[in-house]
Symmetry: C2
Subunit: 110 residues, 2 copies
């Protein structure tokens, strides 16, 4: 309950709604783990998520926004590593390639 | 841009949505003044709004939630006292009675 999450977003890009939505998703999922979640307005295209002072997502580094399940896995890995996220865990983990060819092969017919 | 706002809400009462909505309203209105806004989950019916470490709303003290225009005036008074809030300033101020008899009298007919 003492973990701290921070979402830094660019106001010029109008990313408040996105940041606030992600905030609510994280506060709902990690209601036993997150002690406070801070929304921090910025400029210049910033979109970063920090968990306990560790940068877990940077739009500038990744070149995109995180999917919400992806973000939850990253937050979980930082603040509650032992915890299962249910269906959000059934996709590929963040450390794996997202190469489509890594998907399970279909059983061969016959 | 260095002001800090914090909303403490009761998770048992399911007040996250309300708190997050108020957070977005404040971040939108005070986009030049608020440096960070923190959502802080709590228990036991807590609903408090803090601006720069001053308690500006306590549901336990006031017995109700603030109206959003009322909350904006209180935040403004704390972090940007000189600023006009437009239509949100045209209602009665927070220090006045909300007694309906204080409304302007209708002009007498004839």
């Amino acid at each position: 309950m003492n973990n701290r999450v921070e979402i830094r977003y660019c106001t010029q890009c109008r990313w408040l709604l996105r940041a606030a939505w992600m905030a609510q998703e994280l506060l709902t999922t990690f209601d036993q783990e997150i002690g406070e979640l801070t929304l921090k307005p910025g400029t210049g295209g910033i979109f970063e998520v920090w968990a306990d002072d560790t940068l877990i997502w940077s739009r500038k580094e990744q070149g995109r926004f995180p999917e919400i399940t992806e973000l939850k896995r990253l937050v979980r890995d930082e603040i509650a590593p032992g915890r299962s996220l249910g269906h959000a865990d059934r996709k590929e983990g963040p450390a794996q390639d997202t190469d489509a060819s890594a998907a399970p092969a279909k059983p061969s017919a016959g």
